[in-house]
């Protein structure tokens, strides 16, 4: 079992130039748990994660790991405790999977030192845990999006950190691969006790996989707690400015958000009917679905 580490933000203020993104935020990441940070676009959730990973230097306040401020500790020492998977890492052209995963060993290696026995073991373990052992000698360029994401996660595993921060690890993946990645993270948390903090767009997946959630709006922490406490229709209204109905997910029991939108509300006219009306309603629905898909793919491109 891994020892538990405490990661906390203390009156953290983050800014890009003049623009203040996060203002005086305090939070404590629950050790040994999966934490999801949710919020609307531009609410500062990725910025917060970047600060927790010491990529962004705080304007004021500090991030504290095991009681010591991050900036006061040697970079490599932190990198043996705190791992990060950013949103869009780049793979050098033509690099093979094993070598890329091996880069995760960087904080454990000295200048010019060769790979140790342990380096090999940890890389092999990471490849096995992510199910890409067979791809070890393949070039990363040849892989599909889902496989590539597993390679990056394998690299983070090879880093052997007790805390792992991930910025939207499921973006650009189809739903099957999203579940696969999140299952992998859940395994990691269960088997090794790794503390996981991730920014997730999909609220329902966040509610299902996280033990703890933080909801952000305009750089302020609106709520923090178990998903069943945090995800309510009132909170969704506050955080996303969206009307919704929250029900229990029939698969996992976690809260499930059903957004309403202008065209859908749980009023009687949308209830199942019979006779000539129902055919008409069905056509109407098909149109609505087509419209929804259009707007969904539009939003994604923009992102």
């Amino acid at each position: 079992m891994t020892e538990s580490h405490t990661l906390a933000a203390q009156s953290l203020t983050l800014a890009y130039g003049e623009r203040i993104i996060v203002d005086g935020l305090d939070l404590v990441v629950p050790p040994g748990r999966i934490t999801a940070i949710i919020g609307a676009n531009g609410c500062g959730k990725s910025t917060l994660l970047r600060a927790l990973a010491r990529i962004l230097v705080p304007r004021s306040g500090q991030v504290v790991l095991d009681g010591k401020a991050l900036h006061a500790r040697p970079a490599k020492e932190i990198a043996r405790t705190l791992g990060l998977l950013p949103q869009s890492p780049t793979a050098p052209e033509g690099i093979v999977v094993a070598d890329l995963v091996g880069r995760g060993r960087h904080p454990h290696q000295k200048l010019l030192s060769r790979w140790s026995e342990r380096d090999y073991e940890k890389v092999a373990e990471a490849l096995a845990a992510t199910g890409i052992t067979d791809l070890a000698d393949r070039s990363v360029d040849e892989l599909s999006g889902g496989q590539r994401q597993r390679v990056w996660i394998a690299m983070a595993l090879a880093q052997e950190t007790d805390v792992l921060l991930l910025d939207e690890p499921t973006t650009f993946l189809d739903v099957a691969h999203q579940i696969e990645v999140l299952d992998l993270l859940a395994d990691l948390n269960r088997d090794r006790g790794t503390t996981i903090v991730m920014v997730l767009h999909d609220m329902n997946l966040a509610a299902r996989y996280a033990d703890h959630m933080f909801a952000l709006r305009d750089g302020h922490l609106i709520a923090g707690g178990r998903p069943s406490e945090v995800v309510t229709d009132e909170l969704i209204r506050t955080v996303f400015r969206l009307e919704s109905t929250v029900i229990a997910d029939p698969v996992s029991g976690a809260p499930l958000v059903l957004p309403r939108g202008r065209h859908h509300s749980p009023e009687p006219e949308h209830e199942r009917g019979s006779g000539p009306d129902s055919m008409h309603q069905l056509e109407h629905r098909v149109e609505q679905v087509a419209e929804l898909e259009l707007s969904y793919s539009g939003g994604r491109d923009e992102h």
Partner: protein, 352 residues
């Protein structure tokens, strides 16, 4: 507990990994050794071959300070400084170029394409022609010119981040501007001959003497180790600055140290041999192709740079009718590659 207790599932994986990694390591090692041997061979060849041929025994005698009639002057005063300058300047260009290309994650971002060599060149030619400087003062002025140019390009492209197409396009513009400065200064100095002009326009080893070799040798001795010490950090930065920080690399420190060392090497080599066209630009990609993508390309790129300069100089001197400065030959090699990369950038939006 015995060895047999090791988990049977992971054991073969580790062995496969070791095999795969050893194979790639051995490949890199062999390529590097072959490159180094080729550099030594071409260097030796350069000393022996010319208008008159001198055997290895004569050459070695001259190197160790004995007087050999004829050879002492031809080899000791002409060929040895020329070959040394070619070797050292080529190495400096190669390693400085690949440092830029690695750090900016773009093969087009080499210092001779984005105007930093032109900055050094313009400062050096200004120092020589207008201020009548020589020796270390010229190297120093070239260094200042290169640093100022690098800063200017950085500030001009700041909004787009330090990487990216914007920086490259601005750099190409700055390079064109500075090259016209070089031409202007040369045209104002009527007493300057064509050879000197060629040296500052395309780079040349003609008239190389020990005074121009020594600063480059010192720069290589001091700065190449600095760059090699950064190569692990630079390797991690190829994955993106965020990820490198996550891996415990001090990104700002690595970036500043590598940039300063690379700019200084390039400037001092330029002060010695002129901006030998496209050597910094071509060496890195050739080295990467040779050693494979997982390895650090710094040392191989330096060796490729030395080879390019020495071979091109041999071709320029002896293979064609008429003598051409080395920069004309490397320019002929490099320009098509630049066009190839530019067309590729247009298609793929500038990423590697």
């Amino acid at each position: 507990m015995t060895v047999m207790d090791a988990p049977p599932t992971s054991a073969p994986d580790v062995r496969d990994l070791v095999v795969g990694r050893r194979r790639r390591r051995r490949h890199r090692l062999v390529v590097t050794i072959v490159l180094a041997a080729a550099v030594v061979a071409v260097f030796a060849g350069t000393l022996m071959v010319g208008e008159s041929f001198y055997g290895p025994v004569d050459v070695i005698k001259v190197i160790f300070g004995q007087t050999v009639p004829g050879a002492s002057f031809t080899v000791g005063d002409l060929r040895l400084p020329r070959a040394s300058l070619g070797l050292l300047a080529g190495f400096a260009f190669g390693i400085a170029g690949v440092t830029f290309q690695t750090m900016l994650r773009n093969p087009l971002a080499s210092p001779d394409v984005i105007g930093i060599s032109s900055g050094a060149s313009a400062a050096a030619v200004f120092g020589i022609v207008v201020l009548s400087l020589d020796g270390p003062a010229v190297s120093l002025l070239a260094l200042v010119g290169a640093l100022v140019t690098a800063m200017a390009i950085y500030l001009l492209s700041d909004r787009g981040g330090f990487a990216g197409t914007r920086l490259i396009l601005i750099g190409i513009g700055v390079a064109a501007m500075l090259e016209s400065v070089v031409s202007y200064v040369l045209s104002k100095a009527a007493s300057w001959d064509l050879q000197t002009a060629m040296r500052w326009l395309t780079g040349s080893l003609n008239g190389a003497d020990w005074a121009s070799v020594v600063p480059v040798a010192i720069a290589c001795a001091v700065l190449v180790p600095v760059l090699l010490a950064q190569q692990r950090g630079l390797g991690a930065m190829r994955l993106g600055d965020d990820l490198a920080t996550g891996l415990g690399v001090r990104v700002p420190r690595t970036r500043v140290l590598s940039l300063l060392a690379a700019v200084a090497l390039l400037a001092i080599a330029t002060a010695g041999a002129g901006p030998i066209a496209f050597v910094a630009f071509m060496s890195g990609p050739i080295a990467v192709r040779l050693v494979g993508p997982g390895a650090s390309p710094l040392l191989p790129a330096g060796l490729v740079g030395s080879l390019l300069v020495m071979l091109s100089d041999l071709v320029g001197q002896f293979a064609l009718d008429g003598r051409y400065p080395v920069g004309v030959i490397t320019g002929v090699l490099g320009a098509p590659y630049l066009i190839f990369l530019l067309t590729r950038m247009n298609r793929s939006g500038g990423s590697l």
